[in-house]
Symmetry: C2
Subunit: 186 residues, 2 copies
DNA sequence: CACGATACGGAACATTGTTCCGTTTATCAA
DNA sequence: TTGATAAACGGAACAATGTTCCGTATCGTG
């Protein structure tokens, strides 16, 4: 399978867009206007759409590595943590860390806006199985109630992370800890 | 204090707008375009802004009675429930009922969008004290941990309600129950 | 070096919130 | 009843943003 090599300027622009988007996401949030990203990368708006048909594709590309790392940490924690429940809690911590530092990502993930359907699907496909594994192990060990599905838990945690960092009176991490504590009941 | 009586057409239009907005909120969500509300009420867009300077004011006007009822239920539950914790849980249930049936309201409440600042403030001012009362009673009775503030709890619950009703795999009410269960730990 | 395919840039279009202004209408006094 | 006046109105106009289109420029290859 000989990969068709893209033109040099196309590859250059794609990288410039990824860099510009990453910076803009940090500075303004994932809902930064496309024109701002384009200007920052020194390209026209159409170039964004050519490389990333939807905004979701761009977000996915920017955060691919970090989400991948989070997914891979699941099995590792399962092996190294003192108990299945600990493994689950620590993994959820990683997830919260990730979401908490991405201004507006949690919001957009749960928004239901069709623009972000790809993003939502990608998160679910990649992370829910990992969470399900940890959750099942904890349930099998009798450490958490058995009637909660991974998708539900992740969505709840994601929801709790909305607005994290915008109001010092709201501590998303603490709320997630309380939710995880509630999981222990039957 | 003689109240300056507004013109008859102004009063008529204000009521028509409230009715149209209520219907549109149910049908489309609280983020329905202003033009759609105006058309439904048979008025021009400027008439909306004349009566309700911001979208938040319109939402507040539409839901005023229901939020008021929720606020008033707090002391009643406190008196009638078998325990302070039960009172708290039941009151939170009412709150979830309210949010769950208002498409997009939970989203908008936590969005941080300055457009909805008035709405956010109104919710906080009216409901947080009620929640604080119930929470303090439960904490005094040793039924819940004492380090969670009412604002934080309500915000967490509000967040968990985001997306309720748009995905049958996510049961906001169950997640709220789990959060409330987590509150019992120290 | 020339040519075809690829990619580009920015104008143009669509949607939505918000404001402005010329026109209409309700109210009240004569 | 009628006319003056302040209140209220409607819709055009403006601004911001997402998305698409098309004429032009550039890359890669023979």
């Amino acid at each position: 399978m000989t990969t068709v090599r893209k033109r040099a300027d196309a590859r250059r622009n794609e990288q410039a867009l990824l860099d510009a988007a990453a910076a803009a996401f940090v500075e303004t949030g994932v809902d930064v206007p496309v024109r701002a990203i384009a200007a920052r990368a020194g390209v026209g708006v159409a170039t964004i759409y050519r490389h990333f048909p939807t905004r979701a594709d761009l977000i996915v590309a920017v955060y691919r590595h970090q989400v991948e790392a989070c997914a891979e940490a699941g099995p590792e924690l399962r092996a190294s943590a003192p108990s299945p429940y600990d493994a689950l809690v620590r993994w959820i911590d990683l997830f919260v860390d990730f979401l908490g530092t991405k201004h507006g990502l949690a919001e957009v993930l749960q928004s239901g806006d069709p623009t972000y359907a790809t993003l939502h699907t990608w998160f679910v496909d990649r992370l829910v199985p990992v969470c399900a594994e940890l959750l099942a192990a904890a349930a099998d060990a009798g450490q958490v109630r058995g009637d909660v599905r991974a998708l539900e838990l992740m969505r709840g945690v994601g929801n709790l992370c909305i607005g994290a960092g915008t109001d010092e009176r709201y501590d998303a991490r603490r709320m997630v800890r309380i939710l995880m504590a509630g999981l222990r009941h039957d």
